[in-house]
């Protein structure tokens, strides 16, 4: 295979004394969709943040087309074509929907291109067009998520990092989002790194997958292969035998004092 566009080696990141990712290595190849699965607190968000530069890793390297980018200011990373659609929306609450979208294109100089991309986003999410003047902070949760995704698209990135894009979206929109992701990847060759709790749909869209547990990569492989693996099925796809159900139920326990 060719040289990966994004190559991460032995990455370690801390929150003060707490080690959140512990030597993660992974590769993303041009034109691929790569997904990272992992339980709550596995370090997926931390990984994404370290790549996009909002956190500094303590050890390890992040290489973009061979060039080390770890520890750069986040805006420099964006200008290299890496755009992060973060967990938890992070919109600009007091700016209008349209201004939010315009900010997504901050690094781009072409006026006409921006205008046509805004129209593109509006065609994906017509509700945003309807609300183009509304303060983004008063949108509903799902509408904000649409805005965050649309804003990410505005940068015309080479690589997109998606942290739980389906969060709070209606089933219909989840499907649409993933259709958009697939389309961008297919038509515009945008490379994607995708974190998603909805593992089924993520593996469906992805070419390749990694499993992150307690800050370490514990499994990797082609998406189809992963989807077929027993562990993945049990822990991430929710396929399990009925028997386990009862054990996990809460029982009134004796309380210590």
């Amino acid at each position: 295979m060719t040289q990966p566009v994004l190559r991460i080696e032995n990455l370690e990141s801390y929150y003060g004394p707490i080690m959140a990712i512990r030597g993660v290595s992974l590769e993303v190849h041009e034109g691929q969709i790569v997904t990272v699965l992992g339980a709550n607190g596995a370090g997926k968000t931390t990984l994404m943040k370290t790549i996009s530069g909002v956190m500094d890793p303590e050890k390890g390297t992040v290489r973009l087309n061979g060039e080390e980018i770890q520890g750069l200011e986040p805006d420099a990373v964006v200008r290299k074509g890496v755009v992060h659609v973060p967990e938890g929306r992070e919109i600009f609450p007091l700016l209008s929907v349209e201004d939010n979208l315009k900010m997504g294109a901050y690094t781009r100089p072409d006026r006409e291109g921006i205008a046509s991309d805004i129209d593109m986003v509006y065609s994906y999410f017509p509700i945003l067009k309807e609300r183009y003047k509304q303060d983004a902070g008063t949108l509903s949760g799902g509408q904000q998520q649409m805005l965050a995704i649309g804003r990410g698209l505005m940068a015309r990135p080479k690589i997109m990092l998606f942290d739980e894009p389906s969060l709070g979206l209606s089933p219909l929109l989840v499907k649409e989002i993933f259709a958009i992701i697939r389309r961008l990847n297919r038509d515009q060759k945008v490379t994607m790194l995708l974190v998603e709790q909805n593992a089924r749909i993520a593996l469906d869209a992805a070419h390749y997958g990694y499993v992150l547990e307690l800050g370490r990569i514990v499994m990797e492989g082609d998406a189809a292969k992963l989807a077929a693996s027993r562990d993945i099925q049990e822990f991430y796809l929710g396929v399990r035998e009925e028997g386990q159900r009862g054990q996990r139920r809460w029982k009134q326990r004796k309380t210590w004092r």
Binding site: Y14, Y15, G16, P17, V54, M55, D56, E58, P93, L94, G137, R257
Partner: protein, 366 residues
């Protein structure tokens, strides 16, 4: 690192986390009590001054650190405390032992009364509104001349409790112990509030007013109560400050004092009782330290420090800048890091306390 085994709910409720902590605080108190035997009158006076500032700071800390409301006008409440305490004694012949707590209560009531209409204010709005109160207080004092003595101010009588005089110059050690005792009582009360539902309500209001409401907390009442308690403590500090200064007028408690009070608790470390005391040490001792080093330098190098007027204020500002840049979480924050370092030794990591990139969000969304 010490691991505390919690065997009962008490473990989280009691004043000291474990025996060793109780021991260290006991030792600290003993050392504080022994101070007058170790130091001369001059230093004892300075120590008393630091403790008085700490009392005023404790009040502001409760407001800013615990309930998240910033005040740039607490000097006004120092003033109310000072005037109330002295007037109670001189006009109504109330003995100090009663006048002192009463002055706190009066200040607290005024504070709560002020807070009620403005509980919807936040951040900078509240800060500037309190600043306005501080500015207006000066005029109120001047205008209430028959009571306050106007611009000529008031003379504070010597503190006398059961016939024992606590004059600042004739009985410096006594005054010091008195103030120390008041500090200890206030700290215990402060701690009691922190470990009870009210303390949690303060924290709730500070972190998210919306959730606080959803938890059934009356945000306006809680904020007003925080204001009342805070100003009550600050009023006590003011009463002590008034007696310590022995004469004061409307200029004694001006805006600069308000600002210093806020400086103090931020530099000490917001949200912790320690912070109030550490901050008071900086604000109280730093000017003297600067003055002594200046005298020392002047003497050694034959320089002429008087040639640069305002040098102390400038150096003071520079050192404050240094403090804030060095540790935005205040001295107490730094101390916690040092302690963790010592406890973990030698298993610490070099970059453990390196400042992580951090990001702010707007406060204009409430």
């Amino acid at each position: 690192m010490r691991i505390v085994f919690k065997r009962s709910y008490e473990a989280d409720i009691r004043l000291f986390k474990h025996g060793a902590q109780a021991f260290w605080y006991g030792l600290l108190l003993a050392a504080a009590m022994a101070l007058p035997f170790l130091l001369g009158d001059f230093m004892v006076g300075e120590a008393t001054n630091v403790l008085i500032w700490a009392v005023g700071g404790l009040g502001l800390m409760l407001l800013v650190g615990q309930s998240g409301q910033a005040s740039l006008g607490h000097a006004a409440f120092l003033a109310i405390g000072a005037y109330a305490c002295v007037l109670l004694q001189t006009l109504l012949n109330v003995p100090f032992i009663l006048a002192f707590p009463l002055s706190g209560i009066i200040t607290g009531l005024v504070g709560a009364l002020f807070a009620l209409p403005v509980t919807r204010l936040h951040g900078i709005y509240l800060a500037i509104a309190t600043l306005a109160v501080s500015v207006m207080m000066e005029d109120v004092i001047v205008l209430s001349e028959p009571l306050t003595g106007g611009v000529n101010g008031l003379f504070a009588p010597d503190i006398e409790i059961f016939g024992i005089g606590f004059n600042r110059y004739s009985n410096p050690a006594g005054l010091y112990w008195l103030v120390l005792g008041i500090c200890v009582l206030l700290v215990i009360g402060y701690r009691n509030i922190l470990r009870s539902p009210l303390g949690r309500a303060f924290a709730a209001v500070r972190d998210s007013e919306i959730s606080a409401q959803a938890m059934g907390i009356n945000v306006a009442a809680t904020k007003a109560l925080a204001f009342g308690l805070s100003t009550a403590i600050t009023g006590l500090g003011g009463a002590l400050m008034g007696h310590f200064a022995s004469v004061f007028n409307h200029e004694t408690f001006n805006i600069v004092i308000s600002i210093n009070l806020l400086l103090m608790i931020v530099i000490g470390g917001l949200g912790s009782i320690h912070g109030a005391f550490l901050g008071a040490m900086v604000i109280g001792l730093l000017p003297q330290a600067i003055a002594f080093s200046r005298d020392h330098l002047t003497a050694t190098f034959g320089l002429d420090s008087i040639a640069i007027p305002g040098l102390e204020a400038g150096v003071f500002g520079l050192i404050l800048i240094g403090f804030i840049l060095f540790e935005p979480y205040g001295i107490y924050g730094r101390w916690l890091k040092i302690r963790t370092y010592l406890e973990l030794f030698p298993f610490y990591r070099r970059d453990m306390f390196r400042r992580q990139k951090s990001y702010l969000k707007t406060e204009r969304i409430r």
